[in-house]
């Protein structure tokens, strides 16, 4: 991890004052970037440079910088979270780029994700999908049954876990030509459908969540698989298939 020669980078960054104004790409030059620094650390350095020149720093969402909170959301060189596989923007490192490269940085684009400012978009539509049914109705009490009362097949528990690792970043939506939230939604639906605790409300859940997604303006799924490729957590398309089965069976059998 020794310091190597710094990189010189040209950035084309989407600047937009607020949701009402029009945005445009602006060009910045940043030099002597360490290849060991993360993409966001490079953006920090850019902002320092802008602040010192009395400019207005680029606003972007970020928080944990460990790839788990799902806050960061940039569209880098035409890909959500940039060129590396299975990483979020905050875990993307400058060694993935070449010295002298021009990098395009834009916000996630979708009808359901209006731009708030620069690279920050409003993803609260994803929360509202969860409000519609992303839970198991159990109150807090000191006397639910013992955690080991229902054994759960390891394979199913592991699959439920894999689905549950979705970080809600919205990359699947940004990657999709229909701006569909199917991968996001199916991850939650699968997690619960695979566990006995989740089955009681399974029908209502899938119907309510899908309905909410439509109302939010997310598009339908046409199975291109772009979401799975861009998902930083590797959420599998298998979940969308499971969601479709759940949806079909719920539509046919509910009153």
């Amino acid at each position: 991890m020794a310091a190597e020669k710094g990189m010189n980078i040209t950035l084309k960054v989407w600047r937009q004052k607020n949701g009402q104004s029009k945005g445009a790409l602006e060009t910045y030059q940043i030099n002597d970037v360490s290849p060991d620094s993360s993409f966001l650390e490079m953006m920090d350095a850019l902002n320092d440079q802008i602040i010192m020149k009395d400019g207005s720093p680029v606003v972007f969402d970020h928080d944990c910088r460990e790839g788990i909170c799902g806050s960061c959301s940039m569209y880098i060189n035409g890909q959500p979270h940039g060129p590396a596989r299975l990483v979020t923007t905050c875990q993307l490192h400058m060694r993935e780029f070449k010295d002298g490269e021009t990098i395009y940085v834009e916000p996630f684009r979708a009808k359901a994700f209006p731009v708030i400012k620069d690279l920050v978009v409003d993803r609260s539509a994803l929360d509202r999908i969860q409000h519609a049914g992303g839970y198991i109705s159990v109150n807090t009490s000191g006397n639910t049954q013992d955690a080991n009362a229902i054994p759960i097949e390891k394979e199913k528990a592991d699959k439920a876990f894999d689905a549950a690792t979705c970080i809600g970043c919205g990359a699947c939506v940004a990657a999709c030509k229909n701006a569909s939230a199917s991968l996001f939604m199916s991850a939650k639906i699968s997690q619960y459908a695979l566990l006995p605790q989740g089955q009681v409300e399974a029908k209502n859940r899938v119907l309510a969540m899908v309905k909410q997604a439509e109302e939010e303006g997310f598009g339908p799924c046409s199975n291109t698989g772009a979401c799975e490729i861009e998902c930083p957590k590797g959420i599998s398309l298998e979940n969308i298939a499971r969601m479709n089965r759940e949806y079909l069976s719920a539509s046919l059998t509910s009153k």
Binding site: S37, C69, S124, Y135, T140, A164
Partner: protein, 668 residues
């Protein structure tokens, strides 16, 4: 001011049950007329908001992130402790209690810790019912692993993403209440002051981080669950936005702040790589179940590794110093965090560090033995006799991957080195703060109606927190403790009616927030906020970090004072107050860190002993271990704000140990 911890009478094991049976309740119809504000939506705040809403209170929840699911509890990796004794290895409520008291170096309250151990088992039941996908064994039952400082396996986990899964569980419980309108959620809002009316907490002033609007919100009680203050060091494992502001603002309005100097420096983090670095990344303590920590025995080998002339695998077994196994044979690599961190610092200070950065700070965390051990076991299970070396390695790597895959990937992403082939390099980093807002047994601060839960309070971990206990405490406070204790207070408010935000106290608080913001925007200084934050971080790390001296602490206090004055004169905040402005957000947070930092150093100076994460070089045993002074320092240091950190008044809450014997903490 007299501190009353309100610990109930009676034998330790009956206190909580008897207390719950006798506190006042609010009937369901009346709960509908009572509002509660919860600030922060991590494990503590999220679970409290959901549970209070389920009970029938009207909850207003606030977080600075764009969704409650993003609070930094989400980054907790390793696991959550609970005294379930599913492994039949002798665990019990008492043993979890005892381990926590001992792990905290006898600086926490017995009654609180016992209650924590008591409700720990309920947490696991609750989370499983919510659909939290904990790891299971082939029989379909819940699996456990071990964490530092204990001799049983009581840690429940979901790979390296336990915090994420537990937080999403609490978030789902919140979502159910948001859908019902019982929780009103305020995303992208930051609390900038608390409003106190007739001596009681009755609301907050918050800034809408999208529009910049300053808003007044009223309630009958205010709960702070905004986490810890590790970012006072600039570099830490906290999220970039983690801050002390909510806790500090209530401190300035009358809540005492306890034990600020108790900070946890976590032993296994990715070492610092350069000056552009913005944060440090933790590698879960669970890795110490299987990883062995070492540095070269010969100082020339360490030098050669730093210079890139030798690789870890070139060092022969007999030339390696597994210093934790050497110094602490009974706990080995699983000693508590404070002990492991100091041991790493000791080796690196002596010149044996293996990382080529300014301070040579780094040691190896090696999985080669574990890969061998698991590989041989798998070969046996698969009926492969006389497996080749390659077969063993490949089988072993698969097992290690199934246990720690995501952590290994993260390490590889950050460092561009493959930890399956070469040992990880790690070094201690600031991780968690045991200190925080002083609370009584009810989790109420010294201001009536104002509560602090989770990492934001000081109550359960003493001077050092054991691994996998932060998640336990956050959820215990939010799901099982606060929802009971707050009722006892709110029982007086059933006839109060809505609190008006037109009261003069709201105006006064709002005016002071607006004036602070105007100061920043109009300042037109010459340095960015980060410039000051980084300077503060360096002072803290060098003089108030892993090892502290009286002279260093005195210097730190002076330097922080000077830096704070410079900050207010020279800080530059671009943009305006009425827009999304992250630099302004940072400025308001750093202003508070600059005050807290001084109190932190003062607390460390005052505490003339070593205990847990607080290590004073003047107070150590002959073999370099921490030396406590129970006669003079078995107390909680609770500070009262009087206008300047330097003029804060110290109040002492004596700690009484009636159920455990105070001993020198030994892991040898």
């Amino acid at each position: 001011m007299k501190l009353d911890s309100k610990i109930p009478e009676g034998p330790l094991k009956d206190k909580w049950t008897n207390y719950k049976n006798n506190i006042r309740l609010v009937n369901p119809a009346n709960k509908r007329n009572i509002d509660v504000i919860v600030v922060g939506t991590g494990l503590a705040g999220g679970s409290a908001a959901a549970t209070l809403a389920e009970l029938g209170y009207n909850v207003k929840a606030f977080c600075y992130q764009d969704s409650p699911r993003r609070a930094h509890s989400i980054a907790a990796q390793g696991g959550i402790n609970a005294a379930k004794n599913y492994q039949g290895d002798g665990d019990s409520t008492y043993r979890l209690f005892y381990d926590t008291i001992k792990g905290g170096d006898y600086r926490s309250r017995e009654a609180n810790v016992y209650r924590l151990a008591e409700v720990s088992a309920n947490i696991i039941d609750q989370c499983v019912a919510q659909g939290v996908p904990f790891a299971r064994d082939y029989g379909g039952l819940l699996d456990n692993r071990s964490f530092g400082g204990v001799l049983v396996s009581r840690t429940f986990y979901a790979k390296g993403q336990t915090g994420q899964q537990l937080l999403l569980g609490a978030y789902s419980a919140m979502n159910r209440q948001i859908a019902k309108g019982k929780i009103e959620m305020f995303n992208r809002h930051e609390m900038l002051d608390v409003v106190i009316v007739d001596g009681k907490a009755r609301g907050i002033i918050a800034r809408n981080l999208v529009t910049g609007e300053i808003e007044r919100h009223s309630a009958h009680a205010v709960v702070i669950g905004s986490g810890g203050y590790g970012n006072v060091f600039f570099l830490s494992t906290n999220a970039m936005g983690s801050n002390v502001t909510a806790s500090w603002k209530i401190h300035k309005r009358g809540a005492l702040f306890a034990n600020p100097c108790y900070t946890q420096i976590h032993p296994t983090c990715v070492p610092v790589h350069g000056t552009q670095q913005s944060k440090l990344t933790l590698m879960s303590e669970s890795l110490r179940n299987d990883g062995r920590i070492w540095v070269p025995k010969k100082i020339e080998d360490a030098k050669a590794i730093r210079e890139g002339k030798l690789r870890a695998r070139d060092i022969k077994e007999e030339d390696r110093d597994y210093y934790l196994e050497r110094r602490y044979p009974s706990f080995g690599n699983l000693v508590p965090r404070d002990v492991a961190s100091r041991a790493a610092k000791e080796r690196c200070d002596a010149g044996y560090g293996v990382v080529n950065n300014d301070t040579n700070e780094g040691v190896f965390l090696d999985f080669a033995s574990a890969i061998q051990r698991y590989g041989k076991q798998e070969a046996l299970l698969k009926g492969i006799h006389n497996p080749s070396k390659e077969e063993v390695e490949s089988l072993g790597k698969k097992v290690v991957e199934s246990k720690y895959g995501n952590l290994f990937d993260m390490y590889k992403q950050i460092t561009a080195e493959n930890p399956y082939e070469t040992p990880m390099k790690i070094y201690p980093a600031v991780h968690y703060t045991m200190g925080g807002v002083w609370v009584d047994y009810n989790l109420m601060t010294t201001v009536p109606g104002l509560y602090a839960i989770g990492e934001a309070n000081f109550s359960d971990h003493g001077a050092n927190r054991l691994g996998a206990s932060a998640l336990m405490q956050g959820l215990a406070d939010g799901y099982f403790v606060l929802p009971y204790t707050i009722g006892d207070y709110l029982a007086d408010d059933i006839r109060t009616g809505k609190i008006s935000t037109d009261l003069p106290e709201f105006k006064e608080a709002e005016d002071s927030v607006k004036s602070m913001i105007d100061t920043f925007i109009n300042n037109k200084g010459k340095h960015s906020v980060d410039y000051f934050h980084k300077k503060l971080g360096l002072i803290m790390w060098n003089k108030v970090g892993m090892s502290r001296t009286a002279s260093g602490l005195k210097e730190a206090i002076e330097e922080i004072k000077v830096l704070r004055e410079q900050f207010w004169k020279e800080v530059k905040v671009p943009g305006t107050a009425d827009e999304m402005n992250p630099e302004l957000e940072k400025a308001t947070r750093v202003a508070d860190f600059l005050e807290l930092g001084e109190l932190f150093a003062r607390d460390a100076l005052e505490r003339e002993e070593s205990c847990g994460g607080h290590f004073r070089e003047e107070h150590r045993t002959e073999d370099g271990e921490a030396k406590r002074d129970d006669e003079n320092f078995a107390y909680v240091a609770a500070w009262e704000y009087t206008g300047q950190p330097s003029e804060a008044i110290l109040h002492k809450e004596e700690l009484k140990f009636e159920n455990v014997e105070l001993k020198t903490r030994s892991y040898k």
